[in-house]
């Protein structure tokens, strides 16, 4: 009996340790692909110029737990509200910083997502922002790094979920995270008036720890 009790205590300690490690893990929440554009865009021949605003629209092929997606519907994203604050030049690299903005995810079954040309236009961002806004959050410290020599770059920002119909699925203490994306101007599929093709993700800092239902009997049986 004493041996069983010791084994039980050791097992409990081990489970606790594993649980703590899982809580440190990050959770992939959203995977998105699309295109970006500037609005306002004081100088269309430049990207990240003074007075420009950064926007992104596209599809969301991956919506992950604790969000719930209806696979029969289309999912889209819209990044907006980011205004250029500073552009630094390091050789061929541009480092562009922005004011806070938002990233929102929508679920819709009514209108096909349509980029059009020279956004904003009659279909973009409108066909990407109709339907249910299932998640929205703030982007802060948004920074875009772009190499003009090879036409590619990336961005990253801190993200905090603040609203949407499924905000309740994310525990209050697990709503902070971050986003990053690769950007390229080398795709032949970039619609006219968009700058880059974008492929990005949103992570939550602290993944909700999945629970496993069990009974004391089952737990004890593991040690008999």
């Amino acid at each position: 009996m004493k041996r069983l009790a010791i084994a039980f205590l050791v097992a409990s300690f081990a489970l606790g340790t594993v649980g703590a490690r899982m809580a440190d893990a990050q959770l992939l929440l959203v995977d998105y692909v699309g295109f970006d554009y500037e609005f306002p865009d004081p100088d269309p021949s430049q990207f990240g110029e003074a007075g420009s605003g950064y926007n992104g629209v596209g599809e969301v092929p991956g919506v992950f737990a604790p969000l719930v997606s209806d696979p029969s519907k289309e999912h889209s994203y819209f990044i907006t509200g980011l205004l250029q604050t500073n552009t630094q030049v390091f050789g061929t690299f541009l480092v562009i910083d922005y004011t806070p903005g938002t990233l929102s995810v929508y679920e819709d079954s009514s209108t096909p997502l349509t980029y059009g040309i020279n956004p904003p236009n009659a279909t973009a961002p409108s066909t990407f922002t109709d339907g249910d806004q299932i998640l929205t959050g703030t982007l802060t410290n948004f920074r875009f790094v772009f190499n003009t020599a090879n036409g590619t770059g990336s961005y990253e920002a801190s993200f905090e979920a603040t609203g949407g119909t499924q905000i309740g699925n994310i525990p209050l203490n697990q709503r902070k995270g971050w986003t990053f994306a690769g950007a390229t101007s080398n795709s032949t599929g970039i619609p006219q008036g968009y700058y880059h093709q974008i492929d990005g993700q949103v992570f939550l800092d602290n993944a909700p720890t999945p629970g496993i239902k069990g009974t004391w009997g089952q737990l004890k049986a593991n040690f008999r």
Partner: protein, 228 residues
Amino acid sequence: MRAWTTTLIAAAALAFGLVAPAAAGPAIDWDPVFFYGSGITPTNSPLGSQLIGVGTVSSFGPPLEFLNPNIGPYEYTIYVFGLISQGTSPGPFYLTNYSGGSIEIREDTTPDASFDANPPNAGVPSDFQDGTPILTGNFTSFFTQIDGLSAHNTGNAEGNIQWTGGTLLPYTGPAGGEPCPGLFTGGLTYYPPVMIPGYLYRHDGKIDFNCPTPNAPSTWGKVKSQYR
């Protein structure tokens, strides 16, 4: 006559890009590809070192939309190998060009791919090398660039692919035509909380078939004038 004119203008509009493009996902999208390589650190890839990547396809779009990686028993894997470093530029922007390199995308009916820690090991890359090759090709260029100023250790990787084989090779270009180059692109991160021990980068990316598009801005006036 009116129907003929309408058809002609519609065709011309398509040809001149006046119709708003509808959204279509990437031909091949993944999350993730993990890269590794002996002697390479996230910010330094010594001259001559080899970069290797393994990954799983998460979705297919046109012209491969008939494939579904989320319905069993199919698993679609990505194996990138033979990329030889030409050295890394000094920071804070760590740019590494690679020469050579090949890519294989396979369909496996016995799913077994897992990103086991500290590759190479018993499962990596072998779990990503079984199954039927649906697309194979060689890189004609490839680079990684990492931003030493970012809070989340981010950057990007991109390469061009010349497709050479696989059961779906004809889908990479126009019907009866030559294969179009593949554009392998996406974001990189080595932020520790999203990494697996022993890997260098996590890559969220995709491949599209970068077919040349004879597309030019125009106006209705110009379109009409061509048919007067």
